[in-house]
Every structure is written in structure tokens, then in C-alpha cells.
């Protein structure tokens, strides 16, 4: 995905190079025109709010058990029913948003923080730095992810933080490739050459002059990475890795619940619905953002 992004954005950065408040204004205007993106953006923000304020919204704690209510159907006491340990499903779905979003956003953020500086260095300096960075990209791409995850988790243990660390360390390659392609294309632009000629220090060129131009595509990539990371994290939970009981997480809830499908439909279906809504809204919002920040795409 990153390569396309990189190519397209590299070609288009001349537009965004004229970064100004009017550019962001225009982008917001374009985003507003896209109804699907607008609605998705609103839902995505709602999901984030639910995640942040989970303890205030959820009727119960994610851990409160009532073994006598095991796998009970929907009732006034438990609006969506309970799971095998008699825990309130609605509350677990709400707290699940918290864990799943924390992992998805945390890991993507970490990937960006690692990947972008490395990518910038490679693209800007070229030569041996670039060569080594490219080989690092290759090593990280060639590692079978699940096998590696299993070994690392066996070595360091599971938990939300470690899952974020692992996913972040895997996600950096995408950001790295994107940043590299951007800076590779931008470093020969007139305004950069001009800045160099005027004796502006390199660090200042890289951050103040070039970064704003490269910012748009990176934001888009960031938002688009979130649903992908929700997916991957759910897969890890499906394998029993990462999130520890009794913490609620959508992927883990799918894994636990889906075996109960013929016994209690809601246990299986609720987390599946949550994941579907979250991935879709973040995907649409990401697409809308891309279109808005990149006037030549449709």
C-alpha cells in the first residue's frame, strides 16, 4: 500500500508544498462534501469517545462475573446478555473498544514514530544510509509475522503494552517506506534547493521546510493503518496472544465467543459487529481524508 501512496504523493507534493491555512481549509471543505466520509468520521470519533469514557458509559465492569447468569440472553439487567462467566456483554463491548483502539492507535503511532525518522534519513541522505535502510525494510518484511510474534511473546510475555510494542515494531516499515519516497522526491525540488543555497541548516530544511509538504500523505496513511492494525491485533487475540484475561478486547471476544455461536448467538456476533463497524468507518474516513488532502484524486 505504502508504495502506491509514496508514488502518488511524491508526484503530488508540489500541490501540498504550498502548505498554508487555506490548504487545510480547502481540504476540510472537500471532506465535508463526501457524505460517506463525513458520517464515517463522526462514527469513528464516537467510537473513540466510547473508548475514552468507557468506565462512565458501561453499566458494569468488564470483569464482574455472575456465574449463575452464565450465557444468559438479553434482559433488562443485561441489555445484550452475558458471556460464559456471566459478564455483561454490552459492558465488555464498550471496554473492548478501549483496548482495541488503544492497541490500534498506539501501535500505529509507534510505527510512525520509528518509521518516519528512519525513512526521512534514508530518503534525504541516500547512499549507504539508504542502502542499509532498504535492507532493514527487507529483513522486517521477510519475517513471518505470526511465528515471530509467538517467539517474542514466549520470550517477553504478553499484555497490551507488549502487543503495542510488537505491532508497532512491525508497522514501522510502511511508514519508513512512505517517508523515504517522499523525501527522495522532495529533496530535489526548487524550494529545497533554494533553501540549501541560502544556507539554511539541514535540520531546519528537513523539519520546517519539507515536513509540512510530506505531512498530508502521512496523516492519510496513519488513518488507513488503524483498521489494518485492528485486524492484525484481532488475529493475535484469536491465537490467544497478547491481551490478558479478564481484560475485554474485540479480537479476544471473537475468539472466546465464536465457539458459543450455536449456544448463544450474541456472544459471537457482538464483537464481530464491533470490529466490522470500526474497520469500515476508519477505512472510509481514511479514504475521505486522502481525497480531501489530495485534490487531484477523486
Amino acid at each position: 500500500m505504502s508504495a502506491l501512496q509514496a508514488r502518488i504523493t511524491a508526484r503530488r507534493s508540489k500541490f501540498t508544498a504550498k502548505s498554508s491555512s487555506s490548504f487545510w481549509h480547502a481540504a476540510w471543505y472537500r471532506y465535508k462534501q463526501n457524505k460517506l466520509a463525513l458520517v464515517s468520521g463522526v462514527i469513528a470519533i464516537l467510537i473513540l469517545l466510547v473508548a475514552i469514557f468507557a468506565p462512565l458509559i458501561a453499566p458494569y465492569s468488564y470483569a464482574t462475573q455472575d456465574l449463575s447468569q452464565s450465557l444468559a440472553g438479553p434482559s433488562l439487567k443485561h441489555l445484550l446478555g452475558t458471556d460464559q462467566l456471566g459478564r455483561d456483554l454490552l459492558s465488555r463491548a464498550i471496554y473492548g473498544a478501549r483496548t482495541s483502539m488503544a492497541i490500534a492507535i498506539g501501535a500505529t503511532l509507534l510505527g510512525a514514530l520509528i518509521g518516519i525518522p528512519i525513512g526521512i534519513a534514508a530518503g534525504w541522505f541516500g547512499g549507504i544510509t539508504d542502502f542499509i535502510t532498504l535492507r532493514a525494510f527487507e529483513v522486517f518484511t521477510m519475517v513471518p509475522q505470526i511465528l515471530m510474534a509467538l517467539l517474542l511473546i514466549a520470550l517477553f510475555g504478553g499484555g497490551v503494552l507488549k502487543l503495542i510494542l510488537f505491532l508497532g515494531v512491525t508497522a514501522w516499515v510502511g511508514f519508513g517506506r512512505l517517508a523515504r519516497a517522499q523525501y527522495l522526491a522532495l529533496r530535489d525540488r526548487d524550494f529545497v534547493i533554494a533553501a540549501k543555497a541560502m544556507g539554511v541548516p539541514t535540520r531546519r530544511i528537513v523539519t520546517v521546510h519539507v515536513l509540512p509538504s510530506a505531512m498530508g500523505p502521512m496523516i492519510v496513511f496513519f488513518v488507513q493503518q488503524i483498521p489494518a492494525t485492528i485486524f492484525t491485533a484481532a488475529g493475535f487475540s484469536f491465537l490467544g496472544l497478547g491481551v490478558q484475561d479478564p481484560l475485554a478486547d474485540w479480537g479476544k471476544m471473537i475468539n472466546d465467543g465464536e465457539q458459543y455461536l450455536s449456544v448463544s448467538l450474541m456472544v459471537a456476533l457482538l464483537p464481530i459487529l464491533c470490529i466490522a463497524v470500526a474497520t469500515l468507518t476508519f477505512s472510509f474516513a481514511g479514504d475521505g481524508l486522502r481525497d480531501a488532502l489530495d485534490p487531484t484524486s477523486r
Partner: protein
Amino acid sequence: MSENASEQVGRLPNLSRRGFMIAGGGAAAALALAGCNSKNATSSGAGTKNALGVTLPSGSASAQDQYYVQAFDSTGASYKALDFYETVYSRAPLADEFNIPLVRLNSDYSIVPGAATHWEQSSDKLSWTFHIKPGIMWSDGKELTAADYIETLRYSADPKHAWDFSWFWSGVIKNYTEAVAGKVPTSQIGVTQGSDKYTLVINTEGPIAYIPSACLYTTPLSAAALNKHGSGTYNINPSTCVTCGPYTLSKFDPTATVVLSPNKKYSGPYAPPIDGLVGKIYAGGDMLPRFQTGEIDTLSVTPLDLKIAAKNSRTKDLHLYKNPNDFEIWYCFFDVTKSPWNNVKVRQALAHCIDRDTLIKSLLAPLATPAYGYLTPGYPFAVEDQLKPYTNYDPNKAKSLLAEAGYPNGKGFPSVTLSWWANAVSNTESVVQALTQNWNKILGINVKLQELDKTTFYDRMNKKPTQLDMGFVSYGMDYFDASNMLSVYKSGGRHNWNNKDYDALLAKGAAESDTSKRQDIYTQAQVLLTQQAPALFIFHLLYGYYYAPYMKGNALAKNKDGYDGIQWPGFYATSNSLQQLYVASNVGSWPRQKQTGVV
């Protein structure tokens, strides 16, 4: 060993796909139609003979239906050989059928004759003598004699062979430990021929009362074949397989199937009606639909399987057979050298704060019974009532014990971690959550959970000193004697609770041959163990089995304890269940998938 049993139905953590069962339901319905069409072809074979010359009992199906198909989950398994003395933990499906052990077990867990007709302990109590029935022939034409057992046991002690179960005879057979360590040649171990070639003498390291029980694990390789091939793997090749049991190998594919067909040269005393065995190997997936669609004749079920099966028309009225299999105890252990677990009052507080009845009713029933001690009732020398006062569910007592230990209402109690690995048979994931929730709620402490993969879990638990402060784990017996299971807690054993009194009781019990005196000794040991609470005993697992309605025979009948289905050690040469199972003539009432070329 027990863990092997659980693994046949245990799955990769959280990869169990129970939801597929209904899927099987659909397919089963389609197959049921096919079954109806062929219904008038009722097969009756009562009075006729099978390929082993056994006259089939009344009510049995025809001779070509007398095979038995079992399922094996290869997830987490390694299939290397078909003989106990080649490898214990990497045995492939349908292992240990090519021999006759010295003794066998009946469904009441009593030792009955196998290849040995009788046995006795010497007057100095330092050796046992077994008398082998003459005239049992190997398929290569040689006779089964003491030499086969001697060569097999020597092979097991050979450092070059590196047998994975050598701890079993270490400290039991004379010089065995030294031979494994390479300090003496294997010919020096205390297993010798007696007065003639049918007499086997086992010299022990001390007076050991339970040798006949332990001798269940004397499933010999052929001395001639062992010497010729240099290892026991000759038995995984149909052309080199040498057997004196009722079966011989006809197909070995460790990724798909193992097929045993009748050994037409069988000359032993225990010929079975079932003369063909099929082991189907699956790489995970849900077993229930495979049973419902007639791919397999029997199924070991999990608590969840039962919930799902109850909603299916084919399985909802099927009888659920239950037995303790290898008498597993599931318990929480502590690292008693570390705070807070070095305080016996803290351990006792947690012991009184386990609501076993509710937990079992919601999560495991009917496949578990509450555990108050290490031994399952029904296991030799097990007691229960004497232990209850030390570990019954009593939240108030639990709270006051914790207060006495210096943590009133959990104040000041450090955050602790309970490690566990996922096992579908015991519903571990739910059980550990229910346990910790109760402790945290009632005692006001903070017990956190940490799931580990199985290999990591056992590696960290078994490290000396152990790297787990607290864990949820099981143990199953290896042979029928209290000394086996109770020795897990002796000093220097599996866990780090070292107690001189307990060690002394175990040593006394192992040497005592008077049964009522042994009972007294082992009762004291069990009370001490439960009272000191180096572990919290949660439940004894029961194994649940479905057998297709045409599987019949005394092997499935209730035993003295009221448990039914094929008892431990299973459908093997080491059990007399082999002779007591047959396929009945109602085989057309179920969509059994025909196996050809087996019998």
C-alpha cells in the same frame, strides 16, 4: 503421562472451533438419509469368527464391521514411534498394540495377568519374580521369553537411546539410575532371567511394594528385532513390524492415518472381537462433527461440546460415558519460598476461598468433581472427608486467616500473578478467571492472570528455582498407587514445598506391604498436604466420551466406582478392555463411514 491423554482432545490455545459442530449436524442429516437406504442390510455376525478366530458374541455385527476408528489431534503432538520403550511422549496413534505386557489392568483398576500368569516378592523384599506363560509367539516365529523384557529394559536405560521416560524406573530398578548416567553398562541393571527362560526377576533399589502396578509399563519390544534394527522404530514400517499382540501394522502415515490389521499369527491368550483399528489424525479442528458424520466411532468431549451436542438431534439423547481416565488433579501451586506464599496462613486463606461447587456447576459439569486433596476418590488410598475441614469454602474463615497473616481485608497484600496455559478439556480459561475473581472480590487482594504457551509454562515452572510464583496446572497418575501421585510433592519434586514429615511418611508408605497400615500412612500424608496448602486443589477431571450406538461390550459398562466407558489406560494391550468391545448389529442406525481393507 496424563497430559498426553488430555492432549488427544486438548487444542492449540484458543483455536478450538466448537461452533463447527452444527456444521456437522447438517452433514450428518444428509448422511443419515444414506444410512436409511442401506438399513435393510442389517449386519449380524453373532456366532461367526473374526480373522483372529474369536467367536463373535450375540448381537454383534458381521466380521467385516469389527473395526474401531478413533480420532487423534496432532496439534502439539509429535509422532515418532509405536512403542512405549522407543518413546513415551512421541508415540503415534494406536501405539503399544504389538506386545503383551507382564500384567494388565481391568476396569476396576486391579492388576490382572498379562503375559505373566503369576508373580511374587522375594522374602528379603528386594526383588520380584514374574512367571511368563510359555508358547506365546512373535510374528517372526520366535517365542516371547524373559529375554524380550530384559533387552527392552536395558535398551530403555541406554544413554545413546536417550529414552524420554527414564525417570520412571530410576531409583526403582537396581542400578538403573547409574546406567542412564552412563556409569555402569546397561547389562548391570537389576533385570535378569530367573530359573528358566520364562522367569523374569526384577531387583529393586529397596523394598518396593508397588512393582506389580508399575509393571503395567512392561510392553516389550522383540529382543531379536531390537538387536537386528538397533532401535524400536522397526515397528513403524509394515514390512519390518514384529508383533506378539493381536494386531499388526498395515499403514503408517503420521500426518493422516495409522491402520492396524489382525495379526493372523496371534497365539496369545487375549484375542479381541475387534480385529482392526484405524487411527485418524487431524491437524486441529473440531472433533464433534467428525463423530456426528460417522468418521470416527468415539469422541472425547469437552464441557462446551456437551452444551452444543445438547442442541443437536443426533447427539442430544446419546449416553455420555464418564470416567476419571488418569485421575487428574487440577490445582494451583505456589512458590512457597517467596512472600506472600511463604506464609501458610495466606495459602490457607485462599484455600478456604474456592467456591468449587458453583465453579464446577457453571463451567465444567458434569465432567469434574470437587477436589479437596491430591488424590481422586476411587484412586488407591484416596481420602476425602478428612481433608474437607482444611479447604472447604468458608469466606469468613478465609478473611480471618488473611487478617491473621497480616493482611486485613487484603490491605498491604502485594499484587501477584497466576500463570496458566489454555486447555479446552478443563476449560482452563474460564476456571482461572472464576477463581481469581472470587479471591479478589472476597479477600480484597489483587491476583492477576498471565497466559503462557504450554512449552514456556512448563519450562518456567520446572526451572530450579521455579520462575512462576503461582500457576494452574494438572497432574495425572502414571500407575495405580498413592506413592506415584503423592511423590509429586516430596522434597526436590515438582514444586518447592519441602517437608521432612511428608517425606518420611512417603518413604514409610512405599516400603509397607500391609494395606491397612499403608492406608493410615497415606491418610496422614494427604491430611498434611491439604492442611499445609502448598497447593490449592480445585477439581478432579472426569473424561466424557461418546461412543456411536453400535459400540457395545463390557468394556463400556460401569465399574465398581460407577464410572463407565473405556477406563484408563484405554484400548491398549495394557488393558483387558481390548477383549470386551465389539461392533453391534445396529450399526446401520448411524451414518458410519465404511473403512475398507482394515479387517
